[in-house]
Homo-oligomer: 137 residues x 3
C-alpha cells in the first residue's frame, strides 16, 4: 500500500474566490505513483470548500449569486459576537462541501468529461491550506 | 490490497429522476471480493448526485419540492448564456452531493437500518455514468 | 493493510443536538494503529449528520437557525403521511452532510487548526449510531 500526502497553499486576493485546482491534484497523483486508489482533497480551513463541478465562468458566478440567496451575508450572527465577521463563510462552505473523494484508475483521476476540482474560498486574503491524500497501490 | 472499479450507466426517461442503486453497489462489493474496505460511489456528471437516504416515495417527492424551493429553475442564469439550460441542475446537484463513501465490513456495506444509496438525476434523458470504486482487502 | 471499525452510540436529550465527536474519532485512530490512511466517519441514520466545522457555541446556534430558514419544520410533507413527523430532519441532514472523510498522517488526524468533527442529531431522544472506519497501514 502507498500513501502520499501534499498540502497545497492558497492566498486569494479577494475574500470570495474560486480556483480550479485539478492540475495540482493530477500532479500529486502522478508523484504518488498510485495506479489504483482513492484521493481525498479537502479544505483544511472551515470557511472554504473543495467541490467538483464545471470550469465555466458563468456557472461560477451563478454559484456565488445562489449562495448569497441562501446565506444572509449581513445578518447579526452569534458567531460574529466573538469578534469574527465570517459566520456567512462557515455557512457557505457547508453548502459547497468540505471535501471531494476521487477514484484513481490506471494512474489517473477517474473523472467524467466535465468534472473539475475547485477550491472555493469564502474568507480569503490570508494563507489557507488544502490537503491532498492519496491511498492505494 | 484489492481495488475494484465499475462504471454504471443510466438513462432516465424524465429530466429529474431518483433511482435506488443500492442493489448495484452491493453486487459490485460482492464481485470485488473485498471484506474490509471503503466504497466510493459518485456521479461522473456534474448535473447529477449520489446520496444516502430513505427509500420512501413520499420523501423523494419532498426532496424534489424542497430543491425547487431553494433553486429557482426559471432564473436567467449566466451559465445558460452558453447555450445550456441546466444551471439549476448544477445547483441542485450541489445540495444533494456528488458522492457517498461507504464502509465495507465483513464483505458487506456497513449500513444503518434505513440507509440506501440513490442516484439523483437533474438533467437526464441522456446517458450518464456512476463510478463505483472499492478499495480494501 | 489495516482496517479498523468502531460503532459509536448516541442518545441525545433534545431532538436537535450537536455533539463534538473529535475525541472519540482520535481515540479510534489511536486504537487502529494506522499511521497513514483515511478515516470515514458517517451517521448510520438518515436524520443525522457528521460534518467538520468549528467548536464555537455561537456558530452552532447559527447553524441551527440557518437550517430553519432553509427547511420549513412545520410543512405538510408527504413523508409525514407515513406516520413520521421527521421529514424536516431528512432535509436538514442533507444540508449538513452524511459523512466526513479525514486523512491520517503520522498516526494522527491531518487537520487544520480549527477542524472539529461534529455529530448533528435532528431527530434524537433515541439510540443512534455513528460509524468510524479506518483504512491504511
Amino acid at each position: 500500500m502507498k500513501a502520499h500526502t501534499e498540502h497545497l497553499m492558497f492566498q486569494t486576493k479577494d475574500r470570495v474566490e474560486f480556483i480550479n485546482i485539478t492540475p495540482q491534484v493530477k500532479e500529486a497523483v502522478r508523484r504518488s505513483g498510485v495506479q489504483e486508489g482513492l484521493v481525498l482533497v479537502n479544505a483544511m480551513h472551515i470557511t472554504a470548500s473543495v467541490y467538483v463541478n464545471d470550469a465555466e465562468p458563468g456557472l461560477i458566478q451563478d454559484f456565488q449569486d445562489w449562495l448569497k440567496s441562501l446565506v444572509d451575508v449581513n445578518k447579526d450572527y452569534r458567531h460574529n459576537l466573538t469578534g469574527e465577521d465570517n459566520a456567512y463563510a462557515h455557512l457557505m462552505r457547508t453548502l459547497m462541501g468540505r471535501e471531494a473523494v476521487v477514484a484513481v484508475t490506471g494512474g489517473k483521476l477517474d473523472f467524467g468529461p466535465w468534472e473539475q476540482i475547485y477550491y472555493a474560498e469564502f474568507d480569503g486574503r490570508r494563507k489557507k491550506r488544502v490537503l491532498v491524500k492519496i491511498l492505494g497501490e
